[in-house]
């Protein structure tokens, strides 16, 4: 039968429709693809986008908060309100014994009022002749809006400063609760019962607090502080407009005794002209600032103005206006010096970085956000093992529990040996022969972090130094290290062999191959316990070890991480565990097994070194009466037999360690 037109199936689309159909198909395909792509969401663990800290708000309200330190009044002083003292002894008939408050008087209808220690003044001189008191006029209360003015000094590069000038003011309120009504308080919004005002600087207010402006003279004093700085700025005009009572005229700004031409800090009173770092002297070499006799412009080098008062300001590698000595990131301009994760605070514990006397960075700390490889995660060391620009601390997508602090992340969990350190709240007192509470490690995260780093650097990362044969060259990149920080729930390294981990640890850190509880030293006259335990041979394991003795740490890790067996002599299965831990064991159940130990891809053993575990090196005999039916090969001092810094893993030990490295992840 032949085909003909009648037999030809009717095409479901005419030929002219082909192009539109193909177009529809293409659109469908694109929709399919693009919607798929659109469904993807950013992965966890990505660093958050950089944020900019907003500039200070020019107008703000400040609430002064009292910081009471209660004292007990010494005799013959009595604790009372100032008003009570006035009523009892008259205005000038008493003195205040101490600056600190001794209590607070409260009432149902008033705010708490501070009480102080007062005593009657003993008058021994003849009474002074009576003069009628001067007629005074109570100033009409003036209400000022609290304004903080950002003052921009002459050059745009110079830092901004904030001066807070006025505050709401009422004569019958003791806003700062220091016992003095605002009308009699030289600093009504800051707790200063002593009314210290020796230098008149900021009218007696503690540094950083807000001065009142009760009268025109004080107003003028305050005004002079700002006028000189704000004269050329629009902020000044805005301030005057907002504060119609503020004139500030008639004052000069030479209250610190230095004319501007000689003043190393023109905008802030600094009578002593202190310049701790001596950078004013350096600046005198710059004709743009110093003409040989006087300053041509504000040098801003006195301590009062100095952004880095204790360091040489002439070195500013990134030209961000912050001298290197005070710059938490010298290679990237970061005038704000923001340090979100407070790495810099931690790094100030490290004398290699921070000079705590001079209060300057000795070397670039790289801890400001601009340099920080993980700006939002604690990582003062800025470790970035895989060199991808993202620090290890924020490269751990599996560290979902906030108590896990990644320190060194070389790869994904599963392909690396995950070791997490946990602080112990106990130590062992050898003199009293009992477990004692010790908070050395579990109360200060910087301290414990330092201990962890020490054990990584001088323990695990020196595995090559502790090995008589080469370990894999990249052995450091076979580990991930973390520590677990929950001061409310520390571990106990001593209540059983291997210790007890904090509750909740298991579900928080399911991925760990080894949890190592580090305990602090308890030094006594009879010695310091420095032993350890493991709850298994090979990982996953729970280990206890001293935080101060890396040979023991490596010995216990030999058990718990690498599956090595003790090579010292003790009673088998009574004092310790012996077994032939194939493959690549370091102990055998027979001499023939030792001598015929398979080489595999690793180094062959020297069969002549196979010996009973009782055969101690004659030079260092140990347990001479001990003899057990297990065999070993590695020479002494062996890490699995001795725990001091001269110990080494022998060939058998290194073979096993290398085998374990090569077996991650196991099939």
């Amino acid at each position: 039968m032949k085909w003909n037109n009648a037999m030809t199936p009717r095409p479901f689309l005419q030929s002219q429709c082909r192009i539109p159909v193909m177009g529809i198909l293409l659109v469908l395909f694109l929709v399919c693809c693009t919607s798929g792509a659109g469904a993807a969401t950013p992965s966890r663990g990505l660093p958050p986008p950089a944020t900019t800290t907003p500039a200070p708000t020019p107008v703000q309200l400040v609430m002064a908060t009292p910081t009471p330190t209660m004292i007990t009044c010494p005799a013959p002083c009595a604790c009372m309100e100032r008003s009570a003292a006035v009523a009892q002894w008259g205005t000038n008939g008493f003195s205040q014994c101490a600056e600190q408050a001794c209590g607070y008087a409260t009432g149902a209808t008033r705010a708490p009022v501070a009480k102080y220690c007062f005593r009657q003044t003993v008058v021994t001189q003849p009474a002074a002749p009576y003069y009628p008191p001067p007629v005074t006029t109570t100033p009409t209360p003036t209400y000022y809006q609290l304004v903080t003015i950002p003052i921009t000094t002459t050059a745009t590069q110079e830092p901004k400063k904030l001066v807070t000038l006025s505050i709401p003011y009422s004569p019958n309120i003791d806003a700062d609760l220091d016992g003095l009504p605002d009308t009699n308080d030289n600093c009504p919004y800051s707790y200063n019962p002593g009314q210290q005002d020796a230098d008149r600087e900021f009218l007696g207010c503690p540094p950083g607090s807000v001065a009142k402006m009760p009268d025109q003279s004080d107003l003028a004093i305050c005004a002079e502080l700002v006028i000189e700085s704000a004269r050329k700025t629009c902020e000044y005009n805005a301030f005057v407009k907002a504060n119609p009572g503020f004139t500030g005229g008639g004052c000069n700004f030479k209250r610190d005794g230095k004319g501007d031409a000689c003043d190393n800090c023109r905008n802030i009173q600094n009578t002593g002209q202190a310049d701790s770092d001596g950078d004013c002297e350096s600046l005198k070499n710059d004709p743009a600032f110093w003409d040989g006799t006087q300053w041509q412009k504000d040098p801003l080098c006195g301590d009062a103005c100095d952004i880095c008062p204790y360091a040489d300001n002439t070195q500013d590698s990134d030209h961000d206006g912050v001298p290197d000595g005070c710059d938490n990131c010298r290679t990237m301009a970061n005038p704000d010096r923001i340090d979100t994760d407070k790495d810099c605070v931690l790094l100030q514990q490290d004398p290699a970085f921070w000079d705590s006397v001079k209060k300057v960075w000795i070397q670039d700390p790289h801890c400001g956000n601009a340099c920080d490889t993980c700006p939002s995660d604690v990582n003062p060391e800025q470790l970035d093992t895989n060199k991808d620009g993202t620090g290890d601390a924020c490269s751990c997508s599996w560290c979902t529990d906030a108590r896990i602090r990644p320190v060194y992340i070389s790869g994904e969990t599963g392909s690396s040996i995950d070791i997490i350190f946990v602080p112990s709240a106990t130590g062992y007192d050898m003199k009293q022969t009992k477990i004692v509470q010790r908070d050395d490690y579990n109360k200060s995260e910087p301290v414990f972090r330092g201990i962890v780093l020490d054990n990584i650097r001088n323990g695990f990362f020196k595995l090559d130094s502790y090995s008589s044969k080469p370990v894999p060259a990249d052995f450091r990149e076979r580990f991930n290290f973390y520590y677990y920080w929950d001061p409310s729930s520390p571990a106990d390294a001593h209540n059983q062999c291997g210790g007890t981990l904090p509750s909740g640890f298991g579900t928080a850190v399911p991925f760990r191959d080894a949890a190592i509880i580090l305990y602090p030293a308890v030094a006594t006259s009879v010695g310091t316990a420095a032993g350890g335990c493991s709850n298994s041979l090979g990982s996953p394991a729970q280990i206890s070890a001293p935080g101060f003795w890396q040979p023991t740490l490596l010995h216990e890790s030999g058990h718990g991480v690498f599956g090595l067996v003790d090579t010292y002599c003790s009673r088998p299965q009574i004092d310790t565990y012996y077994g032939q831990n194939d493959p690549y064991s370091n102990v055998w159940i027979s001499e023939s097994n030792c001598k015929q130990s398979p080489t595999g891809p690793y180094w062959p053993l020297n069969a002549t070194t196979c010996r009973r575990i009782d055969a101690d090196d004659p030079a260092t005999p140990k347990n001479p009466d001990c003899s057990i039916d297990f065999w070993r090969s590695d020479p002494d001092p062996d890490v699995m037999r001795d725990t001091d810094f001269s110990s080494r893993f022998g060939t058998a030990g290194v073979r096993r360690i290398t085998y374990v490295f090569d077996s991650y992840p196991s099939p």
Partner: protein, 203 residues
């Protein structure tokens, strides 16, 4: 021509299949572990509540021991077997740093207890049905059904890809189905149209 069409259609389908993972792989880590708590008291082994939770497991293949763990499918086929250390045995070492800084010799500590807790953490696999624990004599001491833990997890996390019966979003499925239907239609059309033209030419 026919070959070109087939090749083109196959390419489209392949491209769509390659796109599919984008729906499931939204960047979220859906790794899960079975958390299996055992208590061993004398020779009695009891299992607490098994939990399936998000997380990663430790490496299971490098622990020595006389116990043995076995992950099996629901049909009893063994997926994986590995050694487990007897948790009743812990061993350690006594070391003393003397006041003069020297270190004592090492002596051993072996703690054996009758009662101990053992927590086994397994990586999740949809095929896992049972976990079997064998003691040092090779006797099966506990067989744990893992499926209730999966059900409990899925009731709490219905959108987890391992729980979802429809892993792909509906629009994606519709799009893919349409593309497949269209591709088949084109093939059908091309095939018979070409045959029709041939007939015409013969006439």
């Amino acid at each position: 021509m026919k070959q070109q069409i087939i090749t083109g259609t196959a390419a489209i389908l392949l491209a769509c299949l390659l796109v599919l993972p984008a729906y499931a792989a939204d960047g979220t880590d859906y790794s899960k572990v079975f958390f299996i708590p055992f208590t061993i008291d004398e020779n009695n082994v009891t299992c607490g509540q098994v939990v399936l939770m998000y997380g990663h497991s430790p490496d299971l293949g490098l622990q020595s021991g006389t116990f043995r763990g076995e992950i099996a499918e629901s049909g009893a086929k063994t997926i994986r077997s590995f050694a487990i250390w007897d948790p009743r045995v812990r061993f350690g070492d006594t070391v003393v740093k003397r006041p003069d800084g020297s270190v004592s010799g090492v002596s051993g500590i072996l703690e054996k207890t009758d009662r101990a807790d053992l927590t086994v953490i397994l990586p999740f696999s949809a095929a896992s049905g049972t976990f079997n624990l064998y003691d040092d004599t090779g006797v099966l001491v506990s067989s744990v059904d893992l499926r209730p833990a999966v059900s409990a997890f899925c009731s709490s996390n219905p959108k987890d890809p391992d729980c979802s019966r429809l892993p792909l979003p509906l629009p994606a499925l519709i799009g893919i189905v349409l593309v497949v239907i269209a591709a088949i239609g084109i093939l059908y059309y091309r095939k018979y149209r070409n045959k029709g033209i041939t007939v015409d030419k013969n006439q």
